[in-house]
Point group: C2
Chain length 348, copies 2
DNA sequence: TTGTAGGCGTTATCAG
DNA sequence: CTGATAACGCCTACAA
């Protein structure tokens, strides 16, 4: 295979700019610029003439020049831990769609759950011209926060419903949500519950959920067993394997991410453990497959898509209309399906 | 909740530019620009003095101005069908990482498997200043191809190993790969095979794989049953449900995407069908969970990450060094695991 | 409704 | 090694 792409074919005539169009139409650059920006002070005739000329010349406005002149780039940056987890990609998908709808572009950078990398990538995005930032969670490096504040750069924290940093957040209440999950399981009669979760380091969402779990357990004499593991399917299998091996009498497993629950499902299958007969399993996220798993997965539905839209819209409103961003908590809801059952129901 | 983010706090002093730095250091803008671009014709003393001044003033170069002056944006655009499928996000993750390493930014747009949307989004990316494009597959609208060609815009097709459009491709050979899968299944003794696959419309990768499947079957008297469905886990469950219901005697199911195989796994679980005892199941992609499923999934490992890196690198080389892009086929390999078994092995 | 002219922040081409 | 100055392509008062 060696089909090469040639760089310089026929020396195509230089790209036309506003001046060229002005010359071509006998009008001034100002007028060209006006039709470009849909100014209403242009006669229909003139507008059409210009548009014809633009089409004919294959004119494309130069975004850099425009950005320089207007001091606006219409670019928004997002730093996420990873893009390969379906939860973040679902979020970014929503953000991108909403931004595109308003003529903004999204540029993405990944931090790999490392806050210092997050800071670095955030600066890169800003250097690139991003006018605002979307960050994950409420926990960020002091230096970054100071910089954002000092440079007056808009930023929104996702996936959390509050921050202590002064930055606004649009997300959901991780603590409350974890309590809802625990309350449901507790209501089913489970009093020994295993918690499978991802790394606590640099992930305040996970920490908040655990905080919720603990505070609920504390008030309802529920015994807890924590299994920290990688935030992957494999991590889920490992967490489950340890739980099954220890055989500590847990009757339910609460996974703080659906992806972990998938691992638990697989491991249970391998161990001949039946869900929910032998053990109830619950997730967090409501990924696409959750409803179609076998058994279907009881989980907490996080408003990932809505959150993406809201964040994008909030930023657009801020940038376009100076509408201040308000911190908002979106609703997360319990979705009861077949992977959970009453404790001891198999005794029947 | 109503913490608002204020837009105008203390009227921060105007951002310094090269001229301000020139004034501050008593040097000329040219010199400032030189240290900015690591020109080697600057004395160590001067360089350090400038760098001190930059740090002190909190100077940040304006990317739009630079882009305007250099006629380079260092932005690359990618149009993918969707970002929420793990396969595309894994790809983009790799692209983004490699581009970032070379000082390029990635801006993403989604087409939802609609070619006319792809064209539209591609134009948007270019209007935004993207210097090159990454497209999915070899099939694209005539108009877009003409435009890319006429405007001499670099572009690379991903996920395929050849094109008929003149655009270079960096990917894998879908036909050959499908043959490898079929050959493996056939070698296991399977002669009635069901194929579960996503929509054929606007997806040449799927069509190529099917072409490979058919050509193999043709030469080895293998009976085929095709089930087209959505490219989701749910789609996989529906395809499997139909296959199980028809009970046409297929002993193996080849899923043209792992995501579909997951659906098949779930549906099999629901129907009390054992894998691989009752039916062998095979996937395509080797997603993260494939190795840890129960049973672990035999599949074709696509070089998604490598492909992303290679594409990014090729574009960087083209843009930075005018190195032509060469069409390349990356290796995809068969990964044998536990979801497949010899036909009739259960008779033992 | 349309035109003129200056400026946006950098780079790059000359001289010195 | 450093400095002046003209682009880069577009926007936007201010005029007409």
């Amino acid at each position: 295979m060696r089909i090469v792409q040639k760089m310089d074919t026929t020396p195509i005539k230089k790209k036309p700019g506003v001046r060229a169009l002005a010359k071509a139409t006998g009008l001034s650059v100002a007028t060209i610029s006006r039709v470009l920006n849909n100014s209403d002070t242009v006669s229909k005739d003139t507008r059409e003439k210009v548009q014809r000329a633009m089409a004919l010349a294959g004119y494309r406005p130069n975004s850099a020049a425009r950005a320089l002149a207007t001091n606006r780039t219409r670019v928004i940056g997002a730093v996420v831990p990873t893009i390969s987890g379906s939860i973040f990609s679902r979020f970014l998908n929503a953000v991108e769609g909403e931004l595109a709808m308003h003529g903004y572009a999204l540029v993405i950078a990944t931090s790999g759950f490392d806050l210092s990398v997050e800071t670095k990538r955030a600066h890169e995005l800003l250097s690139m011209g991003a006018e605002a930032l979307i960050l994950s969670g409420a926990q960020h490096e002091e230096g970054l926060l100071d910089f954002l504040n000092a440079s007056n750069t808009p930023a929104i924290c996702s996936s959390v419903s509050a921050t202590t940093t002064g930055l606004p957040a649009i997300g959901y209440d991780n603590i409350k949500t974890a309590c809802i999950a625990m309350d449901y399981l507790h209501g089913l009669g489970h009093s020994k519950i295993a918690i499978v979760h991802g790394p606590l380091a640099n992930n305040d969402r996970t920490r908040l959920r655990i905080q919720g779990v603990k505070s609920f357990a504390h008030g309802h004499k529920v015994q807890l067993l924590f299994q920290e593991t990688d935030l992957t399917v494999e991590g889920g299998t490992r967490g489950a394997a340890r739980i099954f091996a220890q055989n500590g009498g847990e009757t339910a497993i609460l996974c703080l991410s659906d992806i972990l629950a998938l691992g638990v499902f697989f491991e249970a299958g391998r161990c001949g453990i039946s869900i929910p007969k032998d053990v109830s399993v619950m997730g967090f996220d409501d990924l696409d497959w959750a409803a179609h798993a076998s058994p279907s997965l009881t989980t907490i539905r996080l408003p990932t898509g809505t959150m993406g839209q809201r964040i994008a819209k909030a930023l657009v409103d801020l940038l376009d209309n100076k509408t201040p961003v308000e911190t908002r908590a979106l609703d997360a809801s319990l979705v009861v399906r077949d992977s959970t059952a009453c404790c001891g129901s198999s005794i029947v």
